[in-house]
């Protein structure tokens, strides 16, 4: 049963993707609900089975010379919540997309397949398998950006593919280099000893493309902005996590040596992203650059030089996944109704519309890391980790993120609240539209994770070299 459940976590969505090609629009909704239900059940079963320490299943796939490659997948405290994140955000995005996405069958199929491969990345317990899933996820992601979204989506998709492939080449060479001196690439063995410097550098840079850190980030702005809202949600919430997860799990497991390098890189990235976000006039771009800033905190956490920082970075992967998906869902909601998303066009939309204002306030405050939201917990852990591992002065760097995100989110909020340009709106009735429901569903996670983060943190305490 465990073996079945483990494999079904990633194979299930892939198969579901194939099936959804043959379903009508109405049946797709049922299929989505059923699939989500089964996935959650599987996740709960696996979580309960090992209290998050969960089963591992591996068999020898093939060996090359004396190097064996395993098909090894399993649960580990660090991936349990990310698996749930994929299920939650993936299905939320599909639900969000359901009512009016064109070519809905292929859209569903691609998203399902993408979810399967993302689950595979999180599940993989052999570095080569990790890489295979990592590469595979690129294909559906590319097609999703290429096929759905704004006017310049094709160019954005090509740019995304080129950057990611470039990163993958470095990652691939790094992994092969890492094999030198190791018998296999199984999780325990890979993490048992430090990587050779070259492998370490190549893998870090390769994964930094996906994270992304500047100057390797320029694919992100366009891909996030041009993609359709549900795809933006998936990109920000899941695909960026692949970079962060790879960095934390396969490269920076001890996080001590050369830590300051990643701290500085992350710090520069953070400051740059904040500055660019301040100058943006397109709301979706603001959110895209917020993501860069928040993922830079993951890099800083990985380079904090202490275990708390790494735990915080892992936690940030989950919390940012929720918050960024919520932000994109919210702006998609507004864009759909108003027909635009530039800040000057949207001035004053809050006039008379408390129903838009409150989710915006909660999500903006979450992105700003206000206590009581889940992102604050992870940012506190990162700051804490840097302070413990590298000294309080370094801790000012991630702490600065609180100030700088405040600067541009409050400006955005102020402009949205000015009563110019837009007509006085009216709140819709008592009931939610499906899109609003998705936004509130994600906000629920934001608040629960902020007030009671114990379920997440309990597992993170098992993180160790």
């Amino acid at each position: 049963m465990e073996v079945f459940a483990l494999n079904a976590l990633w194979l299930g969505p892939v198969v579901a993707g194939g099936v959804s090609l043959f379903l009508s629009r109405r049946m797709l909704l049922g299929w989505l609900v059923l699939h989500g239900f089964i996935q959650v059940l599987l996740w709960i079963y696996l979580y309960e089975e090992g209290e998050g320490l969960g089963p591992v299943w591996s068999f020898l796939w093939f060996s090359f010379g004396s190097k064996p490659f395993f098909y090894a997948i399993g649960l580990h405290p660090v991936n349990v919540w990310l698996l749930l994140l994929t299920i939650v955000v993936g299905h939320a995005a599909l639900f969000y997309a359901f009512s009016d996405t064109p070519r809905i069958r292929s859209f569903f199929a691609l998203v399902f397949i993408l979810l399967g491969f993302v689950q595979g990345v999180f599940l993989a317990r052999d570095v080569l398998l990790f890489f295979i899933f990592y590469e595979a996820s690129l294909v559906p992601a590319f097609l999703l950006i290429y096929g759905w979204g704004g006017a310049f989506r094709r160019a954005a998709a090509v740019k995304f593919a080129i950057f990611t492939l470039g990163g993958s080449v470095l990652l691939m060479i790094g992994i092969l280099w890492g094999y030198v001196g190791r018998v296999s690439g199984v999780w325990e063995e890979w993490r048992a000893m430090p990587l050779p410097a070259g492998a370490w550098l190549l893998m870090t840079v390769g994964l930094a493309v996906k994270l992304p850190l500047i100057p390797l980030h320029s694919w992100l702005g366009e891909a996030h902005v041009e993609a359709d809202t549900p795809v933006s949600m998936l990109l920000a919430s899941l695909l960026l996590k692949l970079g962060g997860f790879g960095l934390l799990s396969w490269v920076w497991m001890d996080g001590k040596e050369w830590a300051f390098f990643l701290r500085i890189w992350g710090g520069v990235s953070l400051l740059y992203a904040a500055a660019v976000a301040t100058a943006q006039t397109d709301l979706k771009r603001v959110i895209a650059f917020t993501s860069i800033g928040h993922m830079a905190l993951v890099a800083i956490g990985a380079g904090s030089g202490s275990m708390i920082g790494i735990q915080g970075a892992y936690h940030q992967l989950f919390t940012h996944g929720i918050v960024s998906a919520g932000l994109f869902a919210w702006i998609g909601l507004v864009e759909k109704q108003m027909g635009g998303r530039s800040l000057s066009f949207l001035r004053g939309i809050f006039a008379g519309r408390s129903r838009w204002q409150l989710p915006a306030v909660l999500l903006f405050f979450a992105a700003m890391g206000v206590p009581g939201t889940n992102l604050f917990v992870s940012e506190l852990l990162v700051i804490w980790g840097v302070g413990v591992g590298a000294g309080w002065f370094w801790a000012m760097l991630p702490a600065l993120s609180l100030l700088l995100t405040g600067v541009y989110f409050l400006r955005v909020y102020r402009e949205l609240a000015q009563p110019m340009g837009a007509v006085q709106g009216v709140d819709s009735g008592i009931f939610f539209s499906p899109r609003e429901a998705v936004v509130w569903f994600l906000i629920g996670w934001v608040l629960v994770g902020g007030v009671y983060p114990q379920p997440w943190l309990e597992l993170l305490s098992y993180v160790g070299p």
Binding site: T278, G372, L400
Partner: protein, 632 residues
């Protein structure tokens, strides 16, 4: 006892905030029931006040209360939801809920014509909850939760009329300047943790700190305090914050939130006692702020701006007390100041409500038209001016005595501080006298016929007036009796920097100075503004010239900050977006392309079309592969 009282007292305002907020949001019908909403909100805060009163009456010793679950626990780190009820936090809670309840009551009348009063009351209740969390927290991150929470509530309430650009900008400015301080609080807190391995305030007291740590953390916490409590250089948000509704100014920006910095430093007494050098720095900043606030207040025409700068100046007094190591004197001044400053703000709200303007040049003669507001405003004025036996006299006298005493221990700078404080006390009486005579006496210069406000507004004025008269009597100077608040109450939780006590002669001298300075200040105000009907402003502008103009422009500090920080940051942001961004966007792919074509060139040299060479490549490759497999 505490186990039952504390969770309930915390839950009441939170319950109000959530029910009113969500109810107003989803059921637009409820938004019209303004008296119901305001009534519920007020009742809940009154309830919390009576709970704390019960805790106060049955108080025996410090007690701790922790919820069964932790907020954040990541082995071996723990941030429990742990609260501390000692004399200091209980006293602050009484101020918050007591003054808070009166201001809620007042708000029912003040906000009666507002469409969105449900939003207002939801945030006001949430503020009470956050502020209680701040003062009661025993764990620094929990304190930070309250600290940011009050900042967020303040943000929403300053920007309550968010449609106006000025209000929205003021709110934004307040939040960001507070966040600059928050970075200091976070960094200091983490530094303490790195030293001691705990966040619990109770346990932090037991560690031995090196001088560097005590000073560094002390200064970082003081940075946080300058943000929250509007001291130099982060004070400019407070005058702008007057854009919010007046009761908010009274509660948040005069009586409670802005005193959080003072509370934090009193709470961290054990750190500051270790390094008097830190306290000297605090003193210098406090004195400068007090002087600056007093001077600027003298030249403002907007009644709320005068009171805002007065608050900045009075907060300077509190920090001066902290710098002398006299934390009880600081908290005592927090207490008395809460009464008379809330009274003055609510009074000014009543005047604004009646006249429809904030410009004191368009008021005048209002005491006759609005007797309750007028007389209570006078009481507040006399109290803040430091005339015995009203409240302000006792707390200010204790502060100046404490600063003077520090001077006698050999730190000569404290004599300078003391002298400046005396000067600021004179200024306080002067600008408050000016405000009262111009706004309340003489002939009415505005439009329409102002009427007295409704009872839900005048009752709080009356209660606060009684407090402004009597609140000081719990802290009598040694010469006149015994200071109850110092000896019997706060000394249980605050350990002051030990300084010698003054001789009776010196003490009498200081008392006389305080009294005389207050009386002279009011006297000068009467000469300039009472007797000669508002001739004072021309007198000052004639004799002070450009300096007076500068004062009336609030020293142009806003413009300075705008040019020195805000605009450069926006220029930098534009630069990042429009220059560096595109440069990276084109540069990196170009660089990679160039590298690849260079690589291609090199590889193409191997492709010479000579078959035996290709064959040798193949053999070499095969051999290498074989070698790897065999040795691997």
């Amino acid at each position: 006892m505490v186990e039952q009282i504390l969770p309930l007292a915390l839950a009441l305002p939170l319950l109000g905030a959530t029910t009113i907020g969500l109810g107003g949001l989803w059921l637009p019908i409820l938004r019209k029931q303004k008296y119901l909403i305001g009534g519920i909100a007020s009742m809940l805060v009154f309830g919390a006040f009576f709970l704390f009163l019960a805790a106060f009456l049955s108080y025996k010793e410090p007690s701790y209360f922790a919820f069964a679950w932790d907020w954040i626990a990541l082995d071996p780190l723990r941030i429990p939801l742990r609260y501390q009820v000692d004399t200091l936090s209980l006293w602050m809670s009484l101020i918050i809920t007591g003054i808070g309840a009166l201001i809620h009551l007042y708000s029912i009348g003040y906000m009666a014509e507002e469409e969105g009063s449900w939003r207002y009351f939801a945030f006001l209740n949430l503020f009470i909850f956050a502020m209680l969390t701040l003062v009661l927290a025993d764990s620094l991150p929990l304190l930070f939760l309250g600290w940011e929470g009050v900042g967020a509530c303040s943000y929403f309430l300053i920007g309550y009329w968010f449609g106006e650009e000025a209000n929205a900008r003021a709110a934004q400015k307040a939040f960001i300047m507070n966040r600059i301080g928050d970075v200091g609080l976070l960094a200091g807190m983490i530094w303490l943790y790195a030293e001691t391995g705990t966040f619990d305030i109770e346990r932090l007291k037991d560690y031995m700190y090196g001088g560097e740590v005590a000073m560094g953390v002390g200064l970082l916490f003081f940075l946080a305090a300058t943000g929250k409590s509007a001291q130099l250089p982060l004070y400019t948000w407070l005058p702008d914050a007057m854009a919010g509704p007046t009761p908010v100014s009274a509660l948040i920006h005069a009586a409670t939130m802005v005193t959080a910095g003072v509370y934090l430093m009193a709470r961290m007494d054990f750190l500051y006692n270790l390094t008097p050098e830190t306290l000297s720095i605090v003193g210098a900043i406090a004195i400068t702020t007090a002087l600056l606030g007093g001077l600027v207040a003298l030249a403002q025409q907007d009644i709320k701006k005068v009171l805002a700068y007065s608050t900045v100046s009075q907060l300077g007094f509190m920090f001066a007390a902290v710098s002398a190591g006299a934390y009880t004197a600081a908290i005592f001044h927090v207490f008395t100041h809460a009464f008379f400053k809330a009274l003055l703000f609510l009074g000014s709200g009543s005047l604004i409500h009646a006249t429809g303007t904030q410009d004191i040049r368009k008021m005048g003669g209002l005491r006759k038209k609005m007797p309750i507001t007028g007389w209570t405003f006078w009481i507040g004025t006399v109290a803040i001016a430091g005339i015995p036996p009203l409240a302000g006299f006792f707390s200010k006298d204790e502060i100046s005595a404490a600063v003077y005493t520090r001077g006698t221990t050999g730190e000569a700078t404290f004599y300078v501080y003391w002298l400046t404080l005396v000067g600021v006390a004179f200024l306080t009486a002067l600008y408050m006298g000016r405000l009262a005579w111009v706004a309340l006496e003489g002939e009415y210069r505005g439009e329409g016929t102002p009427h007295e406000s409704p009872p839900e507004m005048t009752i709080p004025l009356g209660v606060l007036a009684v407090g402004s008269i009597a609140a000081g009597w719990i802290g009598l100077p040694p010469l006149l009796g015994e200071s109850w608040i110092r000896e019997h109450w706060l000394s249980q939780s605050i350990k002051e920097l030990s300084v010698p006590s003054l001789s009776h002669g010196t003490e009498l001298f200081l008392l006389c100075i305080s009294t005389i300075v207050g009386l002279v200040g009011l006297g000068v105000a009467w000469l300039l503004y009472g007797r000669k009907k508002a001739a004072g402003d021309t007198f000052f502008s004639k004799h002070l010239g450009r300096f007076y103009t500068l004062l009336s422009q609030q020293l142009q500090v806003d413009m300075l900050y705008e040019r020195a920080f805000v605009q450069p940051y926006y220029i930098l942001a534009d630069l990042a977006k429009d220059v560096i961004g595109p440069w990276i966007g084109r540069g990196i792919p170009a660089l990679v392309a160039q590298m690849l074509s260079r690589l291609g060139e090199i590889l193409s040299r191997l492709q010479v079309g000579y078959t035996p060479l290709y064959l040798s490549y193949m053999i070499a490759g095969g051999l290498l592969l074989l070698l790897w497999v065999l040795t691997g």
